[in-house]
Amino acid sequence: MATTSARNAGDYFASVAKTDMMRVLFALATEVYALRDRQRALESIIKASGTDLGALDEPVESATYDSERLNERDAFVGRVFAAMSHPSAGS
């Protein structure tokens, strides 16, 4: 259901260099890998100390209202999407 509109999308990035698109993907993959590694390590350490991790699934406010998460998010997006603020022309 959530993809109904997506089916009608055009090729919005037709002239954007594939190399820049791959830069975005690679930057993202790097971030995801580093985070997953750190998360795995943290959860192991915390569980070993006997702490319940249930709070991780509790509802939270938007990052808009939490300056620490907001700053972290904006820095992350800036790193990942840097190539999109002045992309080269594709072939």
Binding site: T4, A6, V60, S62, R73, M84
Partner: protein, 357 residues
């Protein structure tokens, strides 16, 4: 109703919002800077810059333009996907809560036989999957989605537009007030707060939106009467209201429906009554680049009538309906204080007074 979603889903949604913020704060300024440099060099005329064909020839193959528009589109698709995934976990509980009857002040009247107009049935406004009427929890989806869509610039209460409208309302004694196309209705709370003695009504085509609106109004202590109706043909007697208003409704319907809605509102107004329509600023009041970028939404953001609305003479439509009309600018905290890709702006309020007071 607590619309907070769990940490994992909120993190996904935060990332989507972060992308929107990045587009607005980094990509669009870069695009504007390039555009201004190009204008300095090429010196196009204002009429050329107002010509869509000319602007498309300039921009369509521009990588930065494509990046800005492509990211805007995919962030919008991702936003709805993540909101729906986040709320779907609680869908049954939300439905149960919305279906619980209440005898709190105010009311809810649904009309299961109401025919949806074709323009409404076939569209997904702002790309919201299932539109406003085909998902039982469309109201909560809309509220969480729109907060992200607007990067929380309507304020935590989501009522910035209502406050802007109240700031320009003619001082009169309003006894009965109608909010057309009210959706979840929270944007109108400032009007309700400003007129506590008045009887407040809200109408909308969508039953799921109205159920949510009723539930939300009860939670906030607002005795609003909600009724499922088409604004083109409402079931109230002539002269029933002193104030009728709408916000971002008329750009969502075709020209013929705009005319019908204005005529119907004029019929329902008592002599001296006021019709107030709050919208984003017209193309002509914006710089050419902002107007061109706004127009992109017509084909790419579930806004098929955006262009035709901005091209019509609404003041003339008001006059033809027997309303003394004028265009008033209303302060926007969003556009005025923080700006967005359009630069600074004020809302446009088309204000009409029924002649014969």
């Amino acid at each position: 109703m607590d619309l907070r979603i769990n940490r994992e889903h909120q993190a996904r949604l935060d990332l989507v919002e972060g992308l929107k913020v990045y587009v607005a704060g980094n990509v669009m300024p870069a695009l504007r800077q390039d555009f201004e440099k190009w204008c300095d060099e090429e010196k196009p005329t204002d009429s050329q810059l107002r010509d869509a064909t000319y602007m498309h020839a300039k921009f369509d193959d521009d990588p930065l333009y494509q990046a800005s528009r492509g990211l805007q589109r995919i962030s919008q698709e991702s936003m709805w996907r993540e909101v729906i995934y986040g709320l779907d976990r609680r869908k049954e509980a939300i439905e149960k809560e919305l279906d619980t009857p209440s005898d709190a002040p105010g009311s809810l009247t649904l009309d299961p036989a109401l025919q949806m107009p074709v323009y409404y049935e076939k569209n997904e406004f702002h790309l919201q999957p299932g539109n406003y009427h085909r998902n039982t929890i469309a109201g909560p989806i809309y509220e969480v989605g729109v907060a992200t869509y607007t990067m929380h610039r309507y304020g935590k209460a989501g009522d910035e537009m209502g406050r802007a409208l109240v700031s320009v309302m003619p001082p009169k004694k309003y006894q009965r007030v109608l909010y057309m196309g009210c959706g979840p209705s929270y944007k109108g709370y400032p009007v309700v707060n400003a007129l506590p003695e008045a009887e407040h009504w809200g109408i909308d085509l969508s039953a799921p939106m109205l159920k949510y609106a009723r539930h939300r109004a009860i939670e906030h202590g607002h005795p609003i009467n909600f009724s499922q109706m088409n604004a083109e043909n409402m079931g109230f007697p002539p002269g029933h209201f002193d104030l009728i208003y709408c916000m971002l409704l008329l750009h969502e319907v075709p020209k013929k429906a705009v005319v019908n809605i204005v005529n119907e509102a004029a019929r329902l107004l008592a002599p001296g009554g006021v019709l107030a329509n709050l919208e984003l600023p017209s193309y002509s009041s914006l710089d050419p680049l902002s107007a061109f970028l706004m127009d992109w939404d017509t084909e790419n953001n579930g806004e098929p009538y955006w262009r035709s609305y901005h091209e019509m003479d609404l003041l003339a439509t008001y006059r033809q309906a027997g309303l003394k009309s004028q265009l008033i600018e209303a302060h926007s905290e969003w556009g005025g204080a923080k700006g967005n890709y359009m630069g600074k702006f004020k809302y446009h309020v088309t204000m009409g007074e029924k002649i014969g007071a």
